[in-house]
Symmetry: C2
Subunit: 519 residues, 2 copies
């Protein structure tokens, strides 16, 4: 086993467990214990590509077999065992959730480098990072580097939203280097092929693009099949109209041709392609609100109901489905979103962008939207699409990707503790104990960002001795509450404590007024 | 009136309205309109001190008169009118909330530089910033500069938590420069006087320190009178014991002397001093949980019930009260905190530190705790004590103060929209309209941090022309959804829209299945 390494500014190592080589990150503690966390970073690449972990798993699997079709027959796939081990749950739970459509394992049979993960409300809340170039900025190496950076900072899935040149080449490089599921929005590549002339789009071109992307190994597709022509006029009086790129493309196509959305009309043919490769749907919310004023309107909820209808169709084809959600939603309206989704989409996992509960924080929308993300995660959303500090302003660079991921891992972990996921608080308890016992090194290594935790501590108290000191820079030695508490604990030994607790009960029984301030 | 100035990287100016000179910040928009926001920054200092706005208001006011005593008699003070104008509500609302104890105007009659503000669930959610030196780092000028910086970035109140040398001198400089209420924790100065020997503390010294701080003009005191001796043993088995400095000091005192907390025993005498100056109580939560594992335990809620009892005593003395709250609380347990506080504290405003819903994010606790703050703010908490990125690690510097304030203003604004405060969304709507109409300059100037919004935009598209461009760097010109939406809006003219909406209704009436994918 490898030695501990310097990782994100702390000490830890990747470990692989069992015959399936399920990855975890192991953190050594100064009290002799170790602590394990979920790890998304993947193995080390060899010759510019990751090892093909899944090749032997897929070898004998017939085309058209999906995790859903297997689960429905009660067949346990290596992917299911891998996810169960990774989540620390019995594999029966994975099968049950998959078979009911309440969870998905996005895992194209062509994406052999994938370390499978499961998306569903019964499991750890996951985080998606968007990367991708545009005409304004483009470089394949830059995007691969961004992918590696994203999984290092905890991205559970990554969407390649490239819209510029070299879309297929960029995607190929990303897939061969990705240990996490990769999603795309195929309509972008279609539009690139017709040089931006929306009216030239049609289902044949779309299916060709889907097939090509499936062959490469894309794990899930955002398909805006719910942008129906009758919903488009409902957006005309909105403050910010349609803000989804895919949504606006399809709305424009519908209005131009005075025809129904071709993705909706030919949804069965799309399902057939996805089934062949076990690619999952991420049914797109093309009419999501782009500002808090437009939240929860008829356009948004109308589309959501259509996505529920399409979910059933996809399931008939054994295709796995998740549902995309908003967007911009005030905090008190977030619960309605989760409730409507749950009601109309038959339990399929919800995958939301934020939501962002205010509109006035450009530059800090990663932070503002983490508030909405934590809330909707607590209510059951399974996958949270991150927002970076550059949202509404520009394209994220590496540091933005990191800031977005930290914000969203915080939101996801907040949700996991709040929804009572077994063991979710273990990580917090380990860090809290280290904090109380002044084990500073352990506190840094257990932190979500060890390097930043250490650097912030050292800004005020740089001396090496301060890392073992029984106080910190916040209060100085005289006022340290943790130190005083330890004295209190010593004084209030268990015996004394028991006696005093008894006394406290007597006080309470007597009305708790013995020490009345009026005396 | 002054011209617009460069302010936090944007264009705006301070304006003063009416005979009371109520401040607002006015932002000019490129469409000829202006937008007004609440402003905390205060007027410009002259000779190192702020003008004494309140001197004429106080001149004839008898000692011992408080905003609460006035409101109870239906007397309208200039402070009440000022707050009503500032909040955009009728003064009757201010009087009603004050007289019922549901709101406070922290305003020591000696703090003449104060621009009054109101804390209560019926009003704008406010944000407190903590500053203060310690033995490890200390400089009076640095603290005054931190105060000016804090109010510039939106601090509604500021607590001076200095624990090092020169406590009185630091406080004097802060008060003479503060347009916002200043709070302190007087037990810190007492402990400084007895050189850290907790057992030497007594009520006489405490009252002397209170009187001196009242004379200087402190507007509210954190008083840990609820740390009763019988609650202390309840903390012995906690993961992180007692984490409040004041709480641990009083716990240690109680255990050492085997006596009840002297602040509780002599609460009436404390009330008498506060009443004389109209200083408000911030009843401290000395037993707040220091990690999520310890949240909502009997120690915490026992103290909270005692704070409710003390609230009634303070009200008998016409002293204004708010109640401090946690701390570290998982997201799903936050509602219980607000409910318990509301139930036991008779409607007195709640003032919480966070809460922080996880423990693993040192370096990012401003962000993580903003999630809890937004949630508890939505539920009615009136004042949110910020957390900076340095929480648990070190002392905040200027940038940390700014980061903490931005995070908490986002949380507070999220809460205001969610609790349906009239007009709260106006700011968002103004920015969303600017966004949709590609008025980039307006978007920057309306942003919570104009300089950062502009800088992030310019990182990708630095050209001056890009600020009037009808696209942005995120999608590039071909894929801009906002631009496409505008075309959609043009195509779907109102008449067409009306016709299509009619059609949509027909579809819906027919079962909405006309475009069934199965066809």
């Amino acid at each position: 086993m490898d030695a501990y390494e310097d990782w994100n500014g702390g000490r830890s190592r990747r470990i692989e467990v069992g015959d399936l080589r399920v990855p975890f990150r192991e953190i050594p503690l100064t009290n002799g214990e170790v602590f394990r966390t979920y790890d998304t970073a993947g193995p080390v690449a060899v010759d510019g590509e990751l090892p093909k972990l899944r090749a032997p798993w897929i070898a004998d699997r017939p085309e058209g077999e999906t995790q859903l079709s297997l689960a429905r027959r009660g067949v346990v796939s290596p992917e299911m065992r891998f996810c169960a081990e990774r989540e620390g749950v019995p594999v029966e739970r994975v099968i049950e959730e998959l078979s009911r459509g309440r969870a998905i394992i996005p895992s194209n049979r062509r994406h052999l480098e994938l370390e499978p993960m499961i998306v569903g409300r019964a499991f750890k809340t996951k985080v998606n990072a968007n990367i991708g170039n545009s005409r304004v900025r483009a470089s394949i190496d830059e995007e691969v580097e961004k992918l590696r950076w994203a999984v290092r900072w905890g991205a559970d899935t990554v969407m390649d939203l490239s819209t510029g040149p070299d879309i297929p080449q960029t995607r190929e490089a990303i897939l061969r280097n990705s240990p996490v599921p990769i999603g795309t929005v195929p309509i972008y590549e279609c539009l690139e092929q017709v040089a931006g002339r929306v009216e030239k789009l049609d289902i044949e071109r779309y299916l060709d693009v889907l097939e090509a992307q499936c062959e490469q190994g894309v794990d899930y597709f955002t398909v805006h099949a719910g942008v129906l022509i009758q919903y488009v006029p409902l957006t005309a009086r909105r403050v910010t109209g349609i803000v989804s790129r895919g949504g606006s493309i399809l709305a424009k196509w519908c209005l131009h041709h005075h025809k129904q959305n071709f993705l909706y009309e030919h949804f069965d043919r799309i399902c057939a392609v996805l089934r062949k490769y076990d690619v999952s749907f991420s049914l797109g919310d093309g009419l999501r609100p782009g500002c808090t004023a437009d939240a929860n309107d008829e356009a948004q909820f109308g589309e959501l109901r259509t996505l529920g209808e399409l979910t059933k169709t996809a399931w008939e084809h054994d295709v796995q489905v998740m549902i995309e959600g908003p967007g911009h939603v005030p905090l008190h309206l977030i619960a309605d979103n989760m409730a409507e989704q749950h009601k109309h989409c038959h339990g399929a996992p919800f995958y939301t962008l934020g939501p962002l509960p205010i509109d006035v924080s450009p530059g800090y929308d990663h932070l503002a939207s983490a508030i909405g993300a934590a809330m909707i995660g607590m209510l059951g959303t399974a996958l949270l699409c991150y927002v970076t500090p550059k949202e509404h302003l520009g394209l994220p660079d590496k540091d933005d990707v990191k800031q977005g991921l930290i914000a969203y891992r915080i939101a996801a972990h907040t949700a996991d503790i709040a929804k009572g996921l077994p063991g979710a608080r273990d990580w917090d308890d380990a860090l809290s104990k280290a904090r109380f016992e002044f084990r500073w090194e352990d506190q840094f290594n257990l932190a979500i960002d060890p390097g930043v935790a250490r650097a912030y501590h050292d800004q005020t108290l740089p001396a090496e001795g301060a890392k073992t000191a029984h106080f910190c820079s916040m209060c100085g030695p005289r006022f340290c509450s943790m130190q005083i508490t330890q004295e209190v604990r010593a004084m209030a030994s268990d015996e004394v404590a028991a006696g005093m607790a008894e006394k406290a009960k007597e006080f309470a029984a007597g009305g708790g007024e013995i020490y009345s301030p009026a005396k």
